[in-house]
């Protein structure tokens, strides 16, 4: 399973992008997104932004899975009626030919979006708890980034430290 992760700013500009791929394939090649589809990743991701922006202001996110239709991510046990429930993690927001799109919103409205895909076009399964933990940890890293006095909100995050940490988190939570 491989992922394409991006932080999208307020003006729908990419602030950070990364691609995480699991392991080497049988021929030693990197098992990532299919080469021909890879170029489409940013487009697929941006296509889901409308849904995210709609979900952003939902009082209670009972629509979970509704937008995604089939896909069967499952494992969503949180009670949606509870108004105290956290609404940062939006869960699965969209899907595109077997690619699942999950999203997360920070308090400042930055969109963390991730495509979960496979080298073959079969529907992938995602573990919500792991994905959520990944997002939360990246959120913390992002918060530390904006505390940097030399970083302006909305600029691309070019720090190699940030990059290495995000990739480590991806291995920890998503590298299965």
């Amino acid at each position: 399973m491989s992922q394409y992760f991006a932080i999208i700013g307020k003006d729908d500009n990419p602030v950070y992008e990364a691609e995480f791929s699991g392991k080497l394939g049988p021929q030693g090649q990197i098992q990532g997104f299919p080469q021909d589809l890879k170029e489409l990743n940013p487009f697929i991701l941006h296509a889901s932004l409308d849904i995210i922006e709609d979900l952003q202001w939902q009082p209670n996110l009972s629509l979970q899975g509704g937008a995604a239709g089939s896909g069967g991510s499952g494992g969503f046990l949180r009670s949606r009626n509870n108004t105290n429930a956290s609404n940062c993690y939006l869960g699965k927001v969209d899907h595109f030919y077997g690619i699942i799109i999950t999203a997360y919103l920070t308090y400042s409205g930055m969109k963390f979006v991730m495509l979960h895909g496979n080298s073959v076009s079969t529907t992938v399964q995602i573990d919500d708890n792991n994905v959520k933990s990944f997002y939360q940890d990246v959120h913390e890293l992002y918060t530390k980034t904006i505390l940097n006095p030399f970083y302006n909100v909305g600029d691309p995050i070019s720090s190699a430290s940030f990059d290495s940490r995000v990739r480590a988190l991806a291995r920890k939570y998503l590298g299965k």
């Binding site: 992760f5 990364a18 995480f20 952003q56 202001w57 009082p59 308090y107 904006i146 070019s158 990059d163």
Partner: protein, 280 residues
């Protein structure tokens, strides 16, 4: 060569030749399996915990710093509007940063106390009491931020390990204003603001009252200096999706010669959105 020359001065990113960060022009980089055991690139910013620690700044040095900020801006501004905008922008930048930081911190459960930091079911008395705003200060928001230090977590790098559930994003005007009134003020000045009032005349106006503004308490005769706090409130709210303008107004009486009312005027679309999502 030039890259290396520059990098020698930046101990934070020494290893940059082997690993580089995200580059906007190139696009996403693939993570390679051979990087799996690569160590973190050392960085002070990312390895320090952002957990709340009680820290105090001398009021005197703060006052001198603020004084210098004001005189710099004053010197470089031609009109009073320019002065106010510049000062306000300085505040906004801090508001941006506080939004994520304070919300994350508020998500950390207080192990010492059972109460949550700012219960979202907190009664709305703080805001809706238009005329009788005097006694509405919510008491349970005040002490927790200043009191919470847990030694065992100090060396812990990650805050998110301690968070079982993140604080809700504030979707309603009244919720986020309560947060500013309670948590933001406590973080900045050690106590919640003196009052949070909704205008009885206009739908989109709210007021935060500060009896003794800390930053401008030594400045007399120029009320515009309060635009820094206005900018901070504005930055905080706008970044969270509540576009607004904030302006300071004097409300002087015998006991509080410096009292300031921060008048927050929300944009039309914010009210429309709220009516659409939460309307009866």
């Amino acid at each position: 060569m030039t890259d290396k020359l520059i990098l020698t001065g930046m101990p934070e990113e020494q290893n940059v030749h082997s690993t580089t960060g995200y580059e906007y022009i190139i696009g996403p980089k693939q993570s390679l399996p051979n990087e799996a055991n690569a160590p973190y690139i050392p960085s002070k910013i990312y390895s320090e915990s952002i957990l709340y620690k009680k820290q105090q700044v001398s009021l005197m040095s703060m006052a001198f710093l603020y004084q210098e900020l004001i005189s710099q801006i004053y010197k470089n501004s031609k009109t009073s509007t320019e002065f106010e905008t510049k000062l306000s922008n300085h505040g906004s930048n801090i508001g941006f940063k506080l939004l994520d930081l304070l919300n994350l911190r508020a998500s950390v459960p207080s192990s010492a106390r059972s109460s949550t930091f700012l219960p979202s079911n907190a009664s709305l008395t703080g805001g809706n009491t238009g005329e009788t705003g005097g006694a509405s200060t919510n008491t349970n928001t005040s002490t927790i931020l200043t009191g919470y230090i847990d030694k065992s977590y100090e060396s812990n790098e990650s805050l998110s390990n301690m968070i079982s559930q993140l604080r809700r994003r504030d979707l309603k005007i009244i919720d986020i204003l309560q947060f500013i009134h309670g948590s933001v003020w406590s973080y900045l000045f050690g106590a919640p603001s003196n009052d949070l009032v909704k205008s009885s005349e206009r739908e989109n106006e709210y007021m935060i009252v500060d009896n003794e503004p800390v930053l401008t308490q030594f400045i007399s005769g120029n009320f515009s200096c309060n635009y820094f706090m206005c900018g901070l409130i504005k930055g905080f709210l706008s970044q969270a999706g509540f576009e607004c303008t904030v302006s300071p107004h004097p409300d002087v009486d015998e006991i509080y010669p410096n009292r300031v009312v921060y008048l927050i005027k929300f944009e039309k679309q914010v009210l429309e959105r709220e009516a659409l999502k939460f309307g009866a």
